[in-house]
């Protein structure tokens, strides 16, 4: 039986991990390799690196990060942020990442999903969706540009479209819940997970171990991603997994 995955997300800016400051035990909390190794040892099932570099020069450094991480990590990892072309995907995947995550670029030019999927296979292509509830729409709307721009897409429609074009996984972030630590958006996660045939990663809102259980059992998520609660040691991957195991959720 496939286990439910716990995925810490690391924000990388100009080649350095930001927000990792609470790891006093680490020599250099900004070093992607040190943090990645730490999470690997903690029992993380996968890692996501999100490149938030604003400049072109900053983004160039992600390839070095990927190479360094790939050299030391024995679990899979995904890289997202600023990937706009097949050439970008090639660079990241050849440097040793297992998957790339597409967000804004895929909405602007959906063929990008086909191109990546045809070239590397669907298992390499994650489509990240930023979702916010929209009264007018009566459903969730897809946002791009780091959640700043609303699009015409309704989330479930876009998720289905992305999968039909070759997305192998959906990374679904609830903007309504993100940062609130009140739990994942169960209704959204369930709706998308039941609408598509590929795995769905729930993201946004994790505050404690129970929230992960909800995301898996009620939200039907295949994996759950969190950043700050792990980075700021409010809980640990180990603790979350121990709790889930106790609750009968199958984890590694």
């Amino acid at each position: 039986m496939l286990t439910k995955r716990i995925i810490p997300c690391l924000d990388v800016k100009d080649g350095r991990v930001v927000k990792g400051i609470q790891f006093v035990s680490l020599r250099d909390a900004g070093d992607p390799v040190e943090l990645a190794t730490f999470y690997d040892q903690e029992g993380a099932d996968e890692l996501v690196f999100l490149d938030i570099s604003a400049s072109h020069e900053g983004r160039e450094t992600i390839v070095d990060v990927v190479q360094a991480v790939a050299g030391s990590l024995a679990i899979p990892f995904t890289v997202g942020g600023g990937i706009n072309s097949l050439a970008d995907m090639k660079k990241i995947l050849r440097a040793g990442a297992d998957k790339v995550s597409l967000n804004t670029a895929a909405v602007l030019r959906p063929e990008l999903i086909n191109e990546g999927s045809n070239y590397f296979g669907a298992q390499c292509i994650v489509v990240a969706i930023d979702a916010r509830y929209d009264e007018e729409l009566g459903s969730w709307r897809v946002y791009t540009h780091g959640g700043r721009k609303p699009t015409e897409w309704e989330v479930i429609d876009w998720a289905k479209e992305a999968v039909s074009r070759g997305a192998g996984e959906i990374l679904l972030t609830s903007m309504d819940c993100d940062g609130e630590k009140q739990g994942f958006n169960i209704a959204l996660t369930k709706a998308v997970s039941e609408a598509v045939s590929v795995p769905v990663i729930a993201s946004g809102g994790a505050g404690n171990a129970e929230h992960f259980q909800e995301a898996f059992e009620e939200g039907k998520a295949d994996a759950a991603l969190a950043a700050s609660i792990f980075h700021y040691k409010e809980t640990s991957v180990k603790e979350v997994k121990a709790f889930l195991k106790q609750q009968g959720v199958v984890v590694r």
């Binding site: 496939l2 286990t3 192998g168």
Partner: protein, 210 residues
Amino acid sequence: MIGIVDYGMGNLFSVSKGLERLGAESFISDDPKELSKSTGIILPGVGSFRDAMSLLEKQGLDDFLKEYVAGGGYLLGICLGMQLLFDESEENGPAQGLSLIPGKIVRFKGEDVSGKGYKVPHMGWNRIEFKQTSPVTEGLEAEHVYFVHSYFADTGDAYIMASATYDVEVPAIVAKGNVFGMQFHPEKSGQLGMSLLRNYLSLVEGKEKA
């Protein structure tokens, strides 16, 4: 020295880094002449079966691999590389494989016997179970390993060293003589994955010494 086959598809870097962590020397090449100097070969690969075979054929690597194995050389296929070891695949219409292990590559149905749907690809950590003794699993305990695939090998029990369950029995480690295949990614499967690779390296080293 392990030769890693580069035919334009696959995460060569993570395989070679995995070997590096184990202290093994390796080189990446698409040239049969170069690869023939290796003491053992790893055939990695992600992507589609048909594309992979046509790329192998273009470089003459298909015939080379068959000759290499016939000459007693060790070969380990990983993920798509494992699937290529079989006779044929139904991915994107039937395509012929290397026919080093009897069997056919088929797709997960995505629906169980009761008609309930399940996710494809089979992506994530799944526990494997050892089915018979094999030099690659010697001394190891079955654990979770990392899978990412939509197709699996339909093959005889004789060739299945380890398997996982995902709706059906999924061959995880296959072997026939000096040919081995792993459907999951040992280089991404934590401790157990590294130990499996180490066992393969020991086999190859044993041959080097002999």
